[in-house]
Amino acid sequence: MNALLEVDDLSVHLFTPRGVVRAVDGVSFRLEAGQSLGIVGESGCGKTMTALALMRLLPSPPARIVGGHIRFNGEDIMDATDARLRQLRGSAMAMIYQDPMTTLNPVFSVGEQIAEVVRLHEHATPQAAFARAVEALHQVGIPEPDRCARAYPHQLSGGMRQRAVIAMALVCRPRLLIADEPTTALDVTIQAQILDLMRVLRDETGAAIILITHDLGVVADLVDDVAVMYAGSVVECAPVADVFAAPAHPYTQGLLRAMPSLERKLHRLPTIEGTVPSPAAMPPGCRFHPRCNLARTICRDHRPPLLGMPEHSAACWALTEFELSIAHVTAA
C-alpha cells in the first residue's frame, strides 16, 4: 500500500561558522492517510527541524537537507520546484506552530488571513473566500465566527487565536497536518479544548496528523503511533499504548519514569543523569550511551539501528528481537 508520507533516512545539517551541526541524522518513518504520528523529544532533539524539512521550510542558511528522501503522496518533495511547493503548502499539507501570536499577521483581520489561503489555492472571489473563512472559524468551534473573522489577532485570547490558526491550516482540507507544539503556549483547560478539537477534526476531515511535542501526556491523547527522538535520531517507534505500557529504549523508559504522575507519589523522582549532548559535540556510537546504565562497549563504538518488529522498534543494542517481541506481547 502506498503511504501518504514516506520519510527515508532524512538528514539535516546546520552549517554554522562554528562547525557543522547534525540536527537530524537519518530519520525514517511512514504515515498512512488518516493516521496520526507523534514525534516526541526534548529540546534540541531535532523534532522541529524534521517537521520543517517535510514542508521544505528549513531556514537556509544555515540548515540544509543533506540526505534522504521525502515522498508525499508518491511525489518526491526533495525535487519539487518552489512553485510546486507553494501549491502544496497550505492546500495539501499545512502546519500549525507553537505560538499563534507570531503565526498571525497583526495588521490583517483573522478572516482576511484565512481567506488569503483560499484565494491563493482555489481562485475564489474575495467574497466567497471570506465566506469560507467564516465557515472554517465556525468549524473550529469559535462562537460568533462573523465577528471573529473581522477581529484582529490581538483582540482574541490565546485559545481563540490557536483555533483561528487551526482554521487557517484546515480551510483547504489538507491531507497532512503538521502541528508543532500546538498547545505548549496554552493553559491546561484550553489545551484540553484544543486537543479535543483536533481529535474531532481528525475524525471529520480524515487528515493525517504529525504532532510534535515534548509532552508525552499530550501525545497519549491524540495519536496512533509515537516516534521518540533523541539527539537527532529516532530511538523508538511504536503504537502509543505500547510506548506507555512497554517502552523498549532505555531513554524512553527513563523519560516516562522521570515524568511525575498525577496518580501516584514517589519519594524521589527517578532521573536520567547528565544532560542532552550538545549537537556540536555528539558522543560516538549510540548517542545515549553516556547517560545509559545499560551501556556496553558496543554502544560506544557503533550506532544501533532500529531493531525489532516493524510495529515496535527501538535503536538499542541491549535489546534482542526476542525482548522486543516479549515487550510487544506484554503491551497487547
Binding site: 485570547s157 491546561v188 491523547d221 499504548a241 496518580e263
Partner: protein, 365 residues
C-alpha cells in the same frame, strides 16, 4: 496573641494552621487601575489581579499555588517579598508584618525570603561570573569576613546544588538550562533563607532535567527546613513536591487542602476540571475528561458572583449573584463554592451529551 509589633495573629484551623505559622497571609489584595477618561488619567476600572488571598505556611512546608495564566499566582508570590507592592492585606512573617515595614527593616527581613524565577536565561546577569552571581546576597548582607570566606561559601553552595567548584569562574552562557536553574537556586540559598518563593522553577526545563531540579529542591528542604511557596501550572510536579495545594482562579483561592486528599477528590468544580484536563502519563479512556467551555476570563472583567460561574458545569442562579467564601468543609479542607460539600457534586464528563458538544466542539460543515 500579639506579634512583636502589635499585629494580632489569628491562630485557627481555618487556613490549615495548627502550629504557629512561619508566614501568615491575610486578605492580600492587588488592584491595578485601568486608565480611562480622555487622557487616561482617571482610573475607570480596577484590574483585580489578586482579590483577597489568605493562607498560612509552616516552617519547612511546601505550599503550591496552582492555576492558569492570569489567575494571580505570580503576583501573589511577588507580593510575599514585596517585589510587587500589595494594595492591602497583611503578610506576617514570624509575627512581624512586612507591609508596615520601612525599607531598612524590610531589607533585613529579606534575608529570610528569597525567590527563584521561571526563566534561568533571564534571571542571571550574562555579564557576571557565577561566583559573583551567587555571592551577591552575601555581599548585600555582608555575610563574610574576607575574600577567602566569600569564595568558600560560594564553593559550598555550588556543591550543595550539584555543580563543581571549578565552574565558579564561568559565565551563565556556558551552562545548560538545568545548570542555570541550579545556579539560581544556589543564589537563593546563599543568605540562609527560611522561605523561598519558587515561581515556575522547572517549567522552562526538559522532563529529564526537571526531575533533577525537583529532587534537588526536596533535598534542600529536608536538609535546611526551608519552606517553599511553589508556583506552578504543572499539576504532576505539584502533586510530587507540595504538602498542601492552593488552587487559584481569577485572583482568589477556590480550594486549599493537603495534596493527597485534594488530588484524590477535589471539591471545587474548577479543581475537578483542571485536574481532569492535565495531560496524563498514558492513554486514558475517552470521555474521562471534563472540558470546560470558554476562556479564562479577563481579570479586568471578572464576572459577578462566583468568578467561575460562566464556565462552571454545575452553576445555578445563586452563583451569578453571590460570591462564595472560602470555608472549611472538612478539617484542613477549604473550598469556595456554593455547592462544594464533603461529598461534592461530581462534574460529569459526558462527551456524548449533544448540548455539551454543541457549545465547545466542532460541527461538521
Amino acid at each position: 496573641m500579639l506579634g512583636t509589633n502589635g499585629i494580632r495573629i489569628v491562630h485557627c484551623t481555618r487556613y490549615g494552621c495548627l502550629m504557629p505559622a512561619l508566614l501568615a497571609v491575610r486578605d492580600l489584595v492587588k488592584h491595578y487601575p485601568i486608565p480611562g477618561g480622555a487622557f487616561g488619567r482617571r482610573a475607570a476600572r480596577q484590574l483585580r489581579a489578586v482579590d483577597g488571598v489568605s493562607f498560612d505556611l509552616q516552617p519547612g512546608e511546601t505550599l503550591a499555588l496552582v492555576g492558569e495564566s492570569g489567575c494571580g499566582k505570580t503576583t501573589t508570590g511577588r507580593m510575599l517579598l514585596r517585589l510587587t507592592e500589595p494594595t492591602s492585606g497583611r503578610i506576617v512573617l514570624d509575627g512581624e508584618d512586612l507591609l508596615g515595614m520601612g525599607r531598612t527593616a524590610l531589607r533585613r527581613r529579606r534575608r529570610e525570603l528569597q525567590i527563584v524565577f521561571q526563566d534561568p536565561y533571564a534571571s542571571l546577569s550574562p555579564r557576571k561570573r557565577v561566583e559573583d552571581i551567587i555571592a551577591e546576597p552575601l555581599d548585600v548582607f555582608r555575610l563574610y569576613r574576607n575574600k577567602n570566606e566569600r569564595r568558600e561559601r560560594v564553593v559550598d553552595l555550588l556543591r550543595l546544588v550539584g555543580l563543581n567548584a571549578e565552574q565558579l569562574r564561568r559565565y551563565p552562557f556556558e551552562f545548560s538550562g538545568g545548570q542555570r536553574q541550579r545556579i539560581a537556586i544556589a543564589r537563593a540559598l546563599a543568605p540562609g533563607p527560611r522561605l523561598i518563593v519558587a515561581d515556575e522553577p522547572v517549567s522552562a526545563l526538559d522532563v529529564s532535567i526537571q526531575s533533577q531540579v525537583v529532587n534537588l529542591m526536596q533535598d534542600l528542604q529536608e536538609r535546611f527546613g526551608i519552606a517553599y511557596v511553589f508556583i506552578s501550572h504543572d499539576l504532576a510536579v505539584v502533586r510530587h513536591i507540595a504538602h498542601r495545594v492552593a488552587v487559584m482562579y481569577l485572583g482568589r483561592l477556590v480550594e486549599l487542602a493537603n495534596t493527597d486528599v485534594l488530588f484524590d477528590a477535589p471539591f471545587h468544580p474548577y479543581t475537578q476540571a483542571l485536574f481532569s484536563a492535565a495531560p496524563a502519563a498514558g492513554p486514558r479512556p475517552r470521555g474521562q475528561r471534563i472540558i470546560l467551555r470558554g476562556d479564562v476570563p479577563n481579570p479586568a472583567r471578572i464576572p459577578t458572583g462566583c468568578g467561575f460561574h460562566p464556565r462552571c458545569p454545575i452553576a445555578a442562579p445563586i452563583c451569578r449573584e453571590q460570591t462564595p467564601v472560602l470555608s472549611e468543609l472538612l478539617p484542613g479542607r477549604l473550598a469556595a463554592c456554593h455547592f462544594a460539600r464533603p461529598f461534592p457534586i461530581p462534574v460529569a464528563a459526558d462527551r456524548n451529551d449533544p448540548a455539551h458538544r454543541e457549545t465547545h466542539g466542532a460541527r461538521s460543515v
